[in-house]
Symmetry: D2
Subunit: 360 residues, 4 copies
């Protein structure tokens, strides 16, 4: 009999609940006990936040977005911002307390579902003696060690669905529609949704863009009697020479979350082409909703694989998808770099072949 605890950390991604579902069922099937720690490490700091999980508690959650455990997005337990009596905020290291409670509660393993930040923290606990298994999470699909992460297919589907909707309105009004999607460091969501959603232009961080090139694609469409264009922009895309960032700074617009690169690209296109140009930021829509079938299956596989590692007394490991198989890699090998879009991949070539312009 083992006693396992599971937690979720970082920004949410559709599929988190499916991982929890698989963990609970796979433990239950082995006759183990499972607990969930609320808000990341919350359950290790406050016993009320540590909840028993049975199959009944997780009924149907594989189909639901978000995480039933809540997420720890604020601060690391190694430097938690805590207000003292004088009202000042201090960073306090809670790690010893967490370790003490981890031991006192008699857990055999802690399954941590999180992004690279959360996994690094988990690695530190691993070094302190906690038995940790990591499950990678990033909606952007940009973790280097795993081929795919859950949530990505759902985010791409939401973005593609939005592009489908915008086609009809863009076409009816001879408009240019600029859609900003997630992807601060990599262009995966922009690339996949742009190809699948019939974009004319896709701008990604991996390819600094030239607005002249973008506008000439739009002009080219006009010549071919296609009077509307769809432009997909990853939030981290930047013009050659970094115009965007400067422009943003100039306007003192750091606080304006919505006034990002998409809006700027739209205003430039409007000015240069005199086409009626509108922009839209998909934002949090991409993180929400019921996970796609693809993501459910992937997340369930990750969760079940994590429990199998616990069974084999493997610790300090992360589950990963390599060559379409579930494998484990040491947590210490989780590099923090980003998996970039390979510019020679056949997806980029396909995109160019079907007439998509990358602004280069």
């Amino acid at each position: 009999m083992k006693k396992v605890v599971v937690s979720t950390g970082g920004g949410d991604a559709p599929g988190l609940n499916a991982v929890i579902y698989a963990v609970v069922h796979a433990c239950y099937r082995r006759g183990w006990e499972v607990y969930g720690s609320r808000s990341g490490y919350g359950g290790f700091l406050d016993i009320d936040e540590m909840i028993r999980l049975t199959p009944r508690d997780v009924e149907g959650i594989y189909a639901i977005g978000g995480t039933i455990l809540g997420s720890s997005s604020k601060g690391s337990p190694f430097a938690k911002p805590i207000q003292n009596l004088a009202g000042e905020v201090q960073l306090v290291d809670m790690s010893e307390k967490i370790m003490k409670n981890y031991r006192r509660m008699g857990f055999d393993c802690h399954i941590v579902i999180g992004g690279d930040g959360s996994l690094q923290i988990a690695q530190r606990f691993s070094q302190m003696g906690m038995h940790v298994i990591g499950v990678p999470k990033t909606i952007d699909n940009d973790l280097p060690v795993t081929e795919r992460t859950f949530g990505f297919d759902t985010a791409v589907s939401t973005a593609t669905n939005a592009l489908d909707k915008l086609h009809s309105t863009a076409k009816s009004h001879d408009r240019v529609m600029v859609v900003e999607v997630m992807g601060r460091d990599s262009g995966w969501i922009a690339l996949y949704s742009g190809i699948s959603g019939g974009a004319d232009v896709i701008l990604i961080p991996e390819i600094p863009f030239d607005l002249d090139s973008v506008c000439s694609k739009i002009a080219d469409n006009e010549l071919r009697e296609k009077h509307y264009s769809i432009v997909v922009v990853a939030e981290g895309a930047a013009a050659k020479g970094g115009e965007v960032i400067n422009k943003g700074r100039e306007l003192g617009r750091e606080d304006v979350v919505l006034g990002g690169v998409g809006e700027w690209v739209a205003s430039e296109i409007r000015e240069r082409t005199e086409k009626d140009t509108r922009s839209l930021v998909l934002g949090h829509l991409q993180r929400g909703g019921s996970p796609t079938t693809f993501d459910r299956l992937l997340a369930l596989r990750f969760g079940a694989a994590a429990v199998r590692l616990v069974e084999e007394d493997m610790h300090g490991q992360m589950v990963a998808l390599v060559s379409s198989r579930m494998v484990s890699v040491p947590l210490e090998d989780v590099v923090t770099g980003r998996k970039k879009v390979d510019l020679n991949s056949d997806k980029i070539i396909t995109a160019r072949d079907i007439g998509i312009c990358f602004g280069d």
Copy 2:
């Protein structure tokens, strides 16, 4: 045998194509000829823009957003902006030319699908002798003469679907999500989607809001251990005393299309409650996509009813839905006021009963 022409004008709404579909089929069934005029009155000015429509041309379009005829959103034919040789833009009255071509082409009737602007123009042509039947269109559902307009149910569904997606992410991160929906003059979309999508707060033009009231609802949620809130804001909602507009002006933000009332409400909530607050503008997503079943049926009924009016040689009339029946009203009675949300309706009462705050 009659010869009918159909056109679409103004902003698009899901269901336009379904009206066209019904018009074409209902004419075809009577052995009549149907033509479509592209870009509003474009086909009356340029014969290449006047296309023959048969059932085959409209196959399957009842399920597709936008309008296959394109829309005239630029200028009235009574004052069309045209560039002369010197490069100056002059407003030219094209109405005589249109009337001449209408007669020359031998049409018996022109079915105009459009908003109040387009219908007023149609009324002027009616006075000049054109046989006109109007089909009302407004995605905002705010035309006074008809109980419902097509496109509205689809827009509400899109907004509700977005709210569903945002719930999971808001809940996982204890956030306040502010969603701005369409509705410059009336709060129909905000009200319907807010109720159906589980909003905590709905802000509509009909009820000037007080941010203290909004924030106290959010605080109330906290007390009830509900650590997230969803706020739906119609783009035309305004704070008591009109703070929004002033604030917008102050910041010199007229150019920022996306920085509307939703963003402002979010920033105020963030400041006052210290909750992590995000905003999102649904924008054109609400105009796109396949019409819902409800809108398809309504649009098909409007289209078929228009043809029946042509058959009965009724002219200068508009089709309307009154007491769930298709009726006709004189085009001259199409008032330009807006149908506001009735604050005593049971929908408002229902909203309050299920705990929704209107900021009053």
Copy 3:
């Protein structure tokens, strides 16, 4: 302070949970207590089946199909099939026990959400002294006293969505697709989904059909170079002369739930036209899933209106939608007849105008 109990009975319909949601919130807002009785009257017979409901218990359920309370589909409490010690099943009248417990628990009112069977039972309890408010439920939209019932729009949407999917495959293979939808006594679902989903033929109980007429529509399509056809059949549709039922009996197929009228129509079309013809029964898909925006709003309005009636100490009443308003009608007036499709309605006329054949 009042103490209210709510229950659901009969076949499920999307929106049941939304009614419960509104009831709980509207009571909570008035400072009342609400309970839910599981499996219809289960909570009145077994205290463990009577559960306290708070806003927290119903969080998010307005968007979920089914009913959290479970449904009583087996037998009336006035004649409940109960197995005695000898293993024989006897019908026992539990009504006195239910009344006794209703009084002992101190309820002020019982809100019954159910079809005409459940409402008639409620009416009998009302006569025995129970304070009862009825909320009508029928996915078929065929209750005479209310213009609309929740669940219907969702069922129609599911059916229309299926028709959308079948179009592409029917067209690619020059096939006839026959789709059987719900509607034992009335053709509402078939009519609405058939019009919205581009059916060529719609067969409903209100219009006995002639297969020659159906096949001649299919032949007509061929002539117009449309080599595929979509036929929607309500489960209660019958050929002129009642061939279907006889045919079914002949084959001794009463046990074969799926081998209904749709399959028979398909086999006849296959034989007569030599077209590749397939059939499909949508069945329970139509009862499931998240309610549409339309149904959520309607169900929430019904629930809140029921609580307002409780507040006004109205009893023995049913909530109904009349002229788009929530009204109340005496439970004793709930007639058991079915609201049939009006053959002169503009929906039927629209259907014919867009070329749909009813087989007459």
Copy 4:
């Protein structure tokens, strides 16, 4: 400049149009001409069935199910059933005529999108001198040479979506729902949708099932207070000892397309467990509808890769996905066996871990 013709054969799969879209755009971008042959080889037999394809002709089709070219499902061109004057049907070899017209029209290559039957025919034409590139198509994902085929993800999504809908109704009524999905030879769709859709039991051709085992899973659910169960059955699943087929034969039910294994399993469960048990056949719903994002991307990649092979003057090859990359394999290596579900794969293990029973 090259001149390419594309055709589609066999049962349809969502994504066929996306392949055509990519072929047309990729050829157009190279300055080539593209034609589409209707109904498989129809365009080679009747010049009216050979249509020119430009980007304009394929606008938006990547998002649409079916195939704009129609499919050849009837007979091989090497043995085409043709009626002679006496009304007798004879099998005629049309291959010489096709080759003659292929040469006369001056095509450089024929891109054949089809299943193993169509690809074998293509291989025979290849041996006769036609330049052929194959694109594999099977909605069942059971072609051995390629990791994935387009259409599969969409079919799985449709099935999963149906399971989602059935959960609420099954749960509300304490029912067993049996859902029959596609998969005559392999259980891919059943496995993927069953895992993602929360099935309790999955029956696939690869694992002969024992109804006692199925019923004991359902009884087990009851013990755990889960009073409903979802059973997914691939159409080719068979009981140990082949009961199904015999039972089917016994009843003389070969003609009843819908009365398959699902219905039989349901009736057995009903009898053995006395639970209210219903069955549903998803059938053609799984072939229809807009392809998912995943399938669109995959199909576009296949299409573009096919054109790159044409560019490199590779012939007699088929595009395949191997190790997530587009590669080419000789058409003659296209084996006709089926890719079966690997019973040791982590998907099966995951399924068992989350409590799914395979009836073994």
